[in-house]
């Protein structure tokens, strides 16, 4: 693949299409957007199949480097390149984009060319964020990614869209500013903007603490972690369906990616130092937001709260600082990206028919929408973390990772599987089960071909990731090993510390049968 700047092309295709969309009519913009996202999907698959794994494979592949300008020793460059983590998240993004365009095909009728342009811009910025190897370039993509999302909510959102986009903005602004200061400090002190170089750089411990906190401010909001999560339910509720899909599917992964790319490798000591903080907030999030999800009457809000709980498993896993934890966290991110995206689509499907997100307005959909009910059930079960679906792999591995650090937090994290089952099955019951009594619900038709194809594709990937996750775990294995090796010096010992045992004494059986033997001999 050397020579062909595939990453730049993946950025250029949607970027050019986005501009072109603005000059087309609604139908033209739809088709162009769909074509562009499919081209990127094809390129993403090419990227995936061309990615080298195993011994001898380079950590950074598909590298591109064009010097832009230099100031005071710091070189700024158009530097792109991916490792396994970035690859997987790029593949997730390009897979979800055509589905987003498809989901908006009929439901968006206002300012369609602008809408499509906004989505394509989001795609550019997502891929850019994951592919950037230059710190400044990363920052531009990372923060810029919010602008189109912000517009999507603010212009094509629901009734209370202004409040939602404003809240979204306020939260992220605070975090970004602190991160920007940290980034500038890092560039000034190290004299490089290269992310791969910085990942090898050892900052002094006390500096790490401050830098870690500054990055944490940004990533915790993006994640979102409790207690800076309240923008998410509002943003989801107000966003159009496709906006929710991309928000849950990809944007929520930015925080996790940030931790993985910056906090852990660049500040290992500080990461170990703040395990308690991350674990505490994550544990609160699992229990707190799961209970809040249980009492929601708005479908999107419920799924949004469940996202916060799932993302807490990601932060948990990442800060376990061991291979199971980190691989698990990545798998939760991927699984959640697919499954929560699918769940928001499922909400969108019935929202398009009845124009309400109120759970109690539905009921009995299994009767008149059987195909929908089956797919919705699959995604519900995946969200619950049923083995054989994508989310189980991630949850299982992260929790196994956490157990090695803290049995208490493993216990608290695992309560999520009980609470998750409660709120998701309760949701499913109220939507799909029960008798079909309401006339407008009775009139709802089952999935059409477009919806069936979109949900079917997501379902296939959900099962694929659950049954044969190796396709997804293989590309990141080398990177996880490198990261774990780097973290080793800081990683905590855990609280289990089993001592070595001895072979059991041979009298074991005798003890068992002590009482009866006496009887036996008497005969």
């Amino acid at each position: 693949m050397s020579g062909f700047p595939i990453l730049t092309v993946m950025l250029a295709v949607p970027a050019i299409a986005a501009v072109a969309c603005l000059f087309l009519n609604a139908q033209g913009a739809r088709w162009l957007a769909l074509a562009a996202t499919f081209v990127d999907l094809a390129l993403g698959i090419l990227l995936w199949s061309g990615f080298q794994t195993g011994d001898g494979a380079a950590q950074w592949q598909f590298v591109e480097h064009v010097r832009l300008f230099g100031i005071g020793g710091a070189e700024f460059a158009w530097a792109l390149g991916i490792d396994g983590f970035a690859l997987l998240l790029i593949v997730l993004s390009v897979f979800l984009m055509p589905i987003c365009i498809g989901a908006s095909w009929l439901s968006v009728t206002k300012r369609v060319p602008e809408y499509m342009a906004a989505f394509l811009a989001t795609e550019v910025l997502m891929i850019g964020t994951f592919a950037a190897q230059d710190l400044m370039l990363f920052y531009v993509f990372f923060e810029g990614g919010l602008i189109p999302m912000f517009l999507i909510i603010g212009i094509w959102g629901g009734a209370n869209r202004i409040y939602a986009s404003y809240k979204f903005f306020l939260y992220t602004l605070l975090g970004s500013l602190l991160m920007l200061i940290a980034i500038i400090y890092m560039i000034l002190t190290t004299g490089t903007t290269s992310i791969p170089a910085l990942m090898q750089h050892d900052f002094p411990a006390h500096v790490q603490t401050w830098l870690w906190l500054a990055f944490f401010a940004s990533f915790a909001v993006k994640m979102p972690m409790w207690p800076v999560h309240t923008w998410l339910p509002d943003a989801h509720v107000q966003a159009p369906t496709a906006g929710s899909v991309i928000l849950a599917g990809v944007l929520l992964k930015l925080g996790g990616y940030g931790f993985l790319r910056f906090s852990l490798p660049m500040f290992p000591e500080a990461s170990a130092q703040f395990i308690w903080l991350v674990f505490l907030l994550s544990a609160v999030a699992v229990v707190y937001t799961s209970l809040v999800a249980l009492v929601q009457s708005d479908m999107k809000k419920l799924i949004a709260y469940s996202s916060v709980a799932h993302m807490a498993i990601v932060t948990f896993g990442l800060f376990a600082l061991n291979s199971q934890g980190i691989e698990g966290a990545m798998m939760v991110m991927l699984g959640h990206g697919v499954v929560s995206g699918a769940l928001f689509l499922c909400v969108g499907v019935i929202y398009d028919r009845l124009h309400t997100r109120e759970i109690d307005r539905y009921g009995g959909l299994a009767i008149n929408m059987p195909r929908y009910a089956v797919l919705f059930l699959l995604f519900t079960m995946a969200s619950v973390g049923l083995p054989g679906t994508s989310n189980f792999i991630g949850e299982f591995l992260s929790l196994a990772g956490i157990y090695q650090v803290s049995t208490l937090y493993a216990l608290l994290g695992t309560t999520g599987i009980i609470l998750g089952a409660a709120y998701m099955l309760y949701l499913y019951r109220r939507v799909a089960f029960g008798d079909l009594t309401k006339d407008d619900v009775k009139a709802m038709p089952d999935l059409d071909l477009r919806e069936f194809v979109m949900l079917g594709a997501l379902a296939a990937v959900t099962l694929w990731m659950g049954v044969y996750p190796e396709s997804f775990m293989k590309p990141m294995r080398g990177d996880v090993e490198k990261l774990v090796a780097r973290l080793e010096r800081a990683a905590p010992a855990g609280d289990s510390l089993p001592t070595v045992g001895k072979p059991a004494p041979a009298v074991e059986h005798g003890e068992h049968a002590a009482a009866p033997v006496a009887h036996g001999e008497a005969h």
């Binding site: 100031i71 400044m136 531009v140 602008i147 517009l151 603010g154 202004i162 986009s165 404003y166 920007l180 309240t230 707190y288 809040v292 999800a293 009492v295 929601q296 061991n322 691989e327 698990g328 009767i367 049923l386 083995p387 054989g388 299982f396 196994a400 157990y403 090695q404 049995t407 216990l411 599987i417 009980i418 089952a421 099955l425 019951r429 029960g434 008798d435 079909l436 044969y468 996750p469 190796e470 775990m473 294995r477 996880v480 774990v484 289990s496 510390l497 089993p498 001592t499 001895k502 072979p503 059991a504 074991e508 059986h509 005798g510 068992h512 049968a513 009482a515 009866p516 033997v517 009887h519």
Partner: protein, 693 residues
């Protein structure tokens, strides 16, 4: 290709085909494909079992592919077959095949049959994955898979609110157990560095004296691991504390109760403890807990079973109680006896459930035994097969105390073995609980028989029967649509009536014997209930034959099995005496003097209510967990998110900024572009600052 691949994956394939094709190829196709593949799987399973009985077969592991590979954790999809798996294979495939067949008749009026049969086959697949697991994570896959199938089948009649509630309850309560199972897997991986079962079991005997930290304190390693795993077993096998879902699970169609909630899924916990028995052997504390929980469940469920009036609920509590027997057998180290009771119980309990289904079918969906009575002449095949089941569960037989070979119905061999083993192991209190529960078992089982089949008909008071008779008359307002049973429209026309008999409690209703597809499974299972104990007891529990059969698949304790045969005569007789006493009390109370139970209940009212209300577990849990969860959720949402975080967070900031000037007020009123613009300006400013500095 080894047969095991076909045994496991045919049901999955059948489930997929039946479920996806649904009604596309007509009504019969999904039934044929699912039932057919189950009979094939069953036919392939028996030779495997028999080869192990012959003592020549070695354990085999048939690989599929790697599931997960993370750091040092490797999880493979693979199918393990050894003598323990072989038992489960025949139990699962035989009962499942018969239940599929039975459902042709029982579900014949059901419009949604493909879905039902697909679920049944899916369940069977998951159960087979569970019993063939060679590692703990695949076992967990099967574990959750059967949980899913159970959820779907309990909630099969999803229009009924009570069925939905029961389905969710089953899933969520099981998840509480799964929490323990998962932590157990994590702990096992931490200690042994693998989740591969044979490797763990081989390493377990070297763990003597090892300690481990758990939740801030240090404990014996094997005790912690075994107890965590056992919490999982308690959930799946409905042991005391986590049992509340099982009686409610009776909302599902009766064939489901027979297959999942009696013969197979609920025994998964027992299977797991036996599979991990070399681990449990390392912790006397864990074994003590297993014995205690088993005995407590055994007692608790039997006391509740004595007062329930719904025929399926009595059998459900009976199942719960019998599972308790299996656990305390495992707890005293008699794993062979635990598996033996699991094996025989599968036949006679499936028989009792299917028989109950046949009664319910005949009585037009009436499940309340207070409205039964005198049915034995009307449905003789059902009567005699259920009689076989009752003789089996109560343990009727001739103890081998005079040097003769003991002979009896299935439960006689397996249950008495458990009671004798608990005595032989020196667990005197467990022994006495076992004996007393044998009396209760006999009482509640005969109570079912006497109330259902004997005495005078009491059908007239039943609303279901009144509906049936009413409809048959043809003054037909069809109120079946709203009684929530999708299956309620059930062959009314078959039930002719006769005014002359309305005074005798029959309301002129004529119950009919079930169709032949339902009777064949009953008859086959009756054979099992009569003979399974006598034929197989050698392989499961005889000292030398057992040792060669189990071949290390469970921690078979030859000494204990020897000792079991040497217990005093009064011990051997105790279970039989208890059984006869239970029978006598039931006969007295329900045949000789039918007014006695009411008087007794009146005299001991608190005790009666305590039992009738199932020891108030549901009320307690609602009070302790369910209502607080919703209340706290609401509190966090309204007081936490809205009144604290938002108020002092974004909304607070907005207020402060608004006070400072009119700029943001204008922003808030509308233009989103402005926000984007500010963000861009911020970015540009930052970049400029860096560049131009």
């Amino acid at each position: 290709m080894s047969a095991i691949y076909f045994i496991v994956f045919l049901p999955l394939l059948a489930a997929a085909v039946a479920g996806l094709s649904n009604k596309a190829f007509g009504k019969t196709f999904p039934k044929v494909i699912t039932t057919g593949s189950l009979f094939i799987a069953c036919a392939l399973s028996w030779p495997i079992f028999i080869s192990y009985l012959g003592g020549h077969a070695e354990p085999t592991v048939s690989p599929i592919f790697t599931w997960m590979l993370s750091g040092s954790m490797q999880v493979d999809w693979a199918l393990r077959v050894d003598s323990l798996t072989a038992v489960m294979l025949v139990v699962v495939t035989s009962v499942s095949a018969l239940v599929h067949l039975y459902s042709w008749g029982y579900m014949s009026e059901e419009p949604d049959q493909p879905r039902f049969f697909a679920y049944l086959s899916l369940f069977t697949f998951a159960m087979l994955m569970l019993v063939t697991a060679n590692n703990l994570v695949q076992m967990f896959f099967g574990w959750e898979g059967v949980g899913l199938a159970s959820y779907l089948l309990i909630g099969f009649w999803f229009r009924k609110p009570s069925a939905n509630a029961a389905a969710i309850k089953a899933f969520v309560v099981n998840r509480v157990g799964d929490l323990g199972f998962m932590l157990g897997i994590f702990g096992t991986f931490l200690v042994f560095g693998t989740i591969d079962i044979p490797t763990i079991l081989a390493a377990a005997p070297n763990m003597h004296g090892s300690t481990i930290g758990f939740l801030g304190a240090r404990f014996d390693t094997m005790t912690v691991l075994c107890l965590l795993l056992f919490v999982g077993a308690m959930g799946k096998s409905a042991q005391l504390g986590l049992h509340t879902w099982l009686p409610d699970a009776m909302e599902g169609p009766t064939p489901v109760s027979a297959l999942i909630h009696a013969a197979t899924m609920v025994t998964a916990g027992v299977f797991m403890v036996c599979r991990m028995s070399p681990m449990f052997e390392q912790s006397q504390v864990a074994l003590g807990v297993v014995t205690f929980v088993g005995a407590a469940t055994c007692f608790f469920a039997a006391t509740v079973g004595t007062t329930q009036t719904d025929i399926k609920r009595v059998i459900a509590y009976s199942t719960c109680s019998q599972l308790g027997y299996m656990f305390f057998a495992a707890g005293v180290g008699a794993y062979g006896a635990a598996m033996f009771h699991l094996f025989t119980h599968a036949f006679f309990k499936a028989l009792l459930f299917l028989g109950a289904g046949s009664v319910i079918h005949a009585m037009h969906h009436e499940q309340d035994m207070r409205y039964y009575g005198g049915l034995w002449k009307k449905i003789p095949v059902t009567y005699w097969t259920m009689m076989a089941g009752t003789l089996a569960i109560t343990g009727v037989g001739i103890p081998g105390i005079f040097g003769n070979t003991a002979f009896g119905f299935a439960g006689f061999h397996s249950k008495d073995a458990i009671i004798e083993a608990s005595y032989a192991a020196g667990q005197t209190s467990a022994f006495w609980v076992g004996v007393f529960v044998a009396l209760l078992t006999s009482f509640y089982s005969w109570r079912v028989v006497f109330l259902t089949f004997h005495g005078k008909p009491r059908w007239a008071a039943s609303e279901h029967i009144q509906h049936a008779v009413h409809d048959a008359h043809g003054h037909g307002h069809d109120d079946h649509a709203d009684d929530g049973h999708a299956h309620a429209a059930h062959g009314h026309d078959d039930h002719h009536h006769d005014h002359a008999h309305e005074g005798d409690g029959t309301a002129g209703y004529h119950p009919h014997e079930s169709p032949i597809v339902m009777l064949i499974p009953l008859l086959i299972l009756s054979v099992g209930a009569v003979l399974a104990g006598f034929v197989f007891h050698g392989f499961f529990i005889e000292p030398s034959a057992g040792e060669s059969y189990w071949h290390g698949a469970v921690a078979f304790n030859e000494h204990l099995m020897h000792a079991m045969h040497e217990v005093p005569v009064w011990v051997k007789l105790s279970a039989t005496i208890a059984m006869l006493s239970g029978l006598a009390i039931a006969y007295g109370a329900y045949i000789v003097s039918p007014s006695f139970p009411a008087k007794f209940a009146e005299a001991f009212r608190p005790l009666y209510l305590f039992s009738l209300n199932k020891w108030y577990f549901d009320e307690l849990y609602n009070f302790l967990f369910v209502r607080p969860a919703f209340a706290i959720g609401r509190l966090f949402w309204k007081k936490g998110d809205e009144a604290t975080i938002d108020r002092f967070g974004p909304n607070g900031v907005a207020k402060v900024v608004q006070l400072g000037g009119g700029v943001t007020a204008k922003l808030q009123s509308g233009y989103v572009y402005a926000y984007a613009f500010i963000m861009l300006i911020g970015l540009t400013a930052a970049l400029t600052w860096v560049i131009a500095r």
